[in-house]
Amino acid sequence: MHDVRFKGEDILGRQLELAEANYKKLREHGIRSVSVLGAIGSGKTTLIERAIVRLQGEGLRVGTIAADSAGDDDHRRFLAKGACSVNINTQDDCHLDAHTVDHALDDLPLGELDVLFVENVGNLICPADFPLGTEREIVVISVTEGDDMVRKHPKIFAQTDLVVVNKVDLAAAVGVDPQRLVADYAAINPHGKIVLTEAKGGRGVDEVLALLGFPCTNTQW
């Protein structure tokens, strides 16, 4: 028996190269991009809808890539808000990957966009190992999933520098203290930012956008 050693090339090297290519492509077109990860039903789509309206009010042209395992519900919601959108059905796959995003970028008028949101499949675990090539990444959870969400998924929160806790208006109704999520996140990721939102009513959305580098000056919603 003998061992043959290899140079330590990442198993997902091909994915990393594709993500890097996506990053460069977006940068070349001057597009600022954000991946939105999060649990099923946490409000990712609503947050993006709000962001579309808000950023359009700032004169920015917004594109979206909507990924779901089936259907085009989110895609249609983004179109209704005036975004340029591409729909992706991952079918049985639990995450988006850089290759799929690359194809989606081919279907978007990149020369006519300033901002791109990529909404991943609702899943807090699988997408984390598959970088897409966006500039920023946020993770969205909501109080209705319970105040132990951060503790239950510590690795993803340890590596996410911007977290949104949505539906805080329902916190009392579901008996959840959002501050427990805030405290857990601070312990796991002392330098991360966490924002409490009620995306449906727009509360907290401007703060999220400001932390993503989009300060909104328009006072009209």
């Binding site: 028996m1 003998h2 061992d3 043959v4 050693r5 290899f6 330590g8 090339e9 990442d10 198993i11 997902l12 090297g13 091909r14 994915q15 796959d93 639990c94 995450h95 990957d97 675990i125 699988c126 997408p127 984390a128 190992d129 598959f130 503790r151 510590p154 690795k155 993803i156 340890a158 590596q159 312990a187 796991i188 990721n189 002392p190 330098h191």
Partner: protein, 131 residues
Amino acid sequence: MHEYAVVDELITSLLPRLETIPGEVSAVFVRKGELRILSDRALENAFELLSRGTRLESARLVVESVAAVVGCAACSYEGASTYYGDEGGHFAIPVLACPRCGAAVSVVCGRELYVDRVAIKDDVPPSGGVQ
């Protein structure tokens, strides 16, 4: 679930690298940074299934963990991170803050995922070697 996609990439990229290496592959050793969100058991199961019909069919996958190393730009610390865990000891994950000065750190080690080596069964024991 996503472990299948990872193992699929692993096998696809490893097979061509083995073309010049004779002998039966008995084990594939993967080094996985402790910040990666991948289940060892799911990786092993995926490998067993996806290697069928390939040269890796009789090999087993061995996942070796790599501890996190963090680097601090503020105070030049480079070394082990501190860990955060629950009271019951169910998990312990690296905290991405400098253990010395508390500043934000970069990850030097802990996110890697690569094939480190393969074990090959020899038809003839190497001369002078002890098996």
